[in-house]
Symmetry: C2
Subunit: 335 residues, 2 copies
């Protein structure tokens, strides 16, 4: 699995449609998804999956630079339900199809999205590796050099992989993603309905450099988690044996969602070809986060977009995107 | 350019939308296009391009086996306006983007379809070769072994390539399609608005074997054309130096379209992976044509579908389809 910072062939998104997730903010969420899609499409090709009946609206809001592919979907989080793409040394591309069970069963209607990864790979004529592990793509980050970053409770979870040990999970992740060094963070964000996907907690800026979600407020529910995650990162080495440089990004303030606090993190951005599309939360810390990201990625154009309407549905920019690395499809089979 | 009988990755079609072409039969044409798409999708993946506002209907009529890709289009003849796909020895695939001018300008609104080939290749991340020749894909057939079959008036046409000589056209076709032997047929079908695309007149069943549209009726407007085409085929050798086996298929009887006789030919079928989807014209000769095709292609499952509603718009099954050969995309460029 290559790092997200490596070259992409395309980005995959899906058009929001689960009204129970977005409620009255569904229309606003659609506008926000469209703004994210338009921003990414400046940097790389982007395909938006949409239910057939939503294609006219998706097409209108996303504009001509975005490709709309009609597909029956339940929801709109391609990070979690799309394939996890792989490349080999010859830059041949394939995809992993994890088992998707609605984030541990909290969304019962998820049968269409459980097929999304397979359908995307079929569409691409690309080989599919079906993994016997319940996982969402947002549960793992890699440096593309053999190191994997995950938050333990989002994978070793009784609602996802009951009874599975860390070692068993590592064996599967190692086999499917080509990783050999595991950094298990203990904490996701407070009130993250995914039980703490790593893509809100920390990510690789590049091999050897990690960005971590941070709070300086001792009264904040994430205070202890950030520190324990930091302690693990400071004590870790990557697959190349290096210690990690860790850069903190102060999280935005408390914002109320439909079920209490929204899990907001500036870490939850998308790395596009030559660009970054990152969130703004109508928060005083938006500007500092933008400046940090600009400093960490001096060679990328950084675009910051208001995304609270997306977060209201449960995730951020990284959650609604999925990069397909540059590579030629490895055929499913030979005829 | 591989022969159509070689393995395909996918078939491309486009959802009918030009009301001036189909008139009151547009809805019936849509149902017929959908039946063709469903039949082909049994044999190989199929993507249907559709204008955004038509996606819900296209999706409903084509069913889950057909992929619907939203694209702004003027009309629905991917044979003529899609890319002409190529493969190399390593089975890397690319596409030729011919200049499309609305079949010699008889359809003024064709700017969107003039971009269709480029958009499809962009979507596939596949290298595009832009050829300086006005050509529709229905104007050429190849045997995949260096031999090209064309009807001269549909290419060396003052409305398409004014002043171009046969030799100049051959130089371009040779460079882009990898052909070295040209068989120029003198006649297309009577009242074919394309000025006589070869895909109504003759096609390769396989290298060395040609099917020719035929009439035994001396009073039929195609009587002389069939015979002159036959004389050329009998006198020709393919790129391997072989003479050709030529098999006649008796055309259906006269049927009135919106501007006189419809150009109907059983030759205008689609060769899918392991199958053939061929036309029925509500004509007494339908059965004999089916039997001939079955005899010529004993290893393929032959499906015959009623298509007069498609023909009313100006073309047949071959005209509304475009095969993408099996092969990995050759990158547009290296990053």
């Amino acid at each position: 699995m290559p790092g997200e910072f490596e070259p992409h062939a395309r980005c995959w998104m899906a058009w929001p449609c689960r009204r129970s997730a977005f409620g009255a903010r569904l229309e606003a969420a659609r506008a926000a998804y469209a703004s994210v899609a338009r921003a990414i499409a400046v940097f790389e090709p982007l395909t938006m999956l949409a239910n057939p009946s939503d294609v006219p609206e998706a097409s209108r809001l996303c504009g001509p630079a975005v490709t709309i592919l009609s597909m029956e979907i339940d929801d709109s989080w391609t990070r979690d339900t799309g394939p996890t793409f792989l490349i080999d040394e010859a830059r041949r591309a394939a995809g992993v199809d994890w088992i998707f069970n609605g984030w541990g069963g909290i969304y019962p209607d998820h049968e269409k999205d459980a097929q999304m990864a397979r359908k995307i790979l079929d569409h691409l004529g690309m080989r599919r590796y079906a993994a016997d592990l319940v996982l969402e793509g947002g549960g793992v980050h890699v440096d593309g050099r053999g190191t994997l970053l995950a938050v333990e409770p989002a994978i070793l979870d009784d609602r996802r992989n009951p009874g599975m040990s860390r070692k068993e999970a590592e064996n599967i992740l190692s086999a499917y993603l080509g990783v050999k060094q595991f950094i298990w963070l203990p904490f996701g964000l407070e009130n993250d309905e995914t039980a703490g996907h790593v893509d809100n907690a920390a990510c690789f800026a590049r091999p050897g450099v990690v960005l971590i979600n941070w709070t300086s407020d001792p009264l904040d529910g994430n205070y202890r988690g950030c520190r324990e995650n930091m302690a693990v990162l400071r004590a870790s080495r990557d697959a190349s044996g290096r210690t990690l440089e860790v850069i903190q990004i102060e999280q935005p303030g408390y914002k109320e969602g439909k079920e209490g606090r929204m899990a907001l993190s500036y870490i939850n951005f998308y790395l596009a070809n030559g660009g970054i599309v990152m969130p703004a939360f109508d928060d005083p810390r938006d500007q500092a986060a933008l400046e940090t990201i600009r400093r960490v990625f001096p060679d990328r154009k950084v675009v910051q977009l208001p995304v609270l309407d997306i977060l209201y549905g449960g995730g951020g920019i990284h959650c609604i995107t999925q990069q397909q690395p540059e590579g030629v499809p490895l055929f499913p089979h030979l005829r």
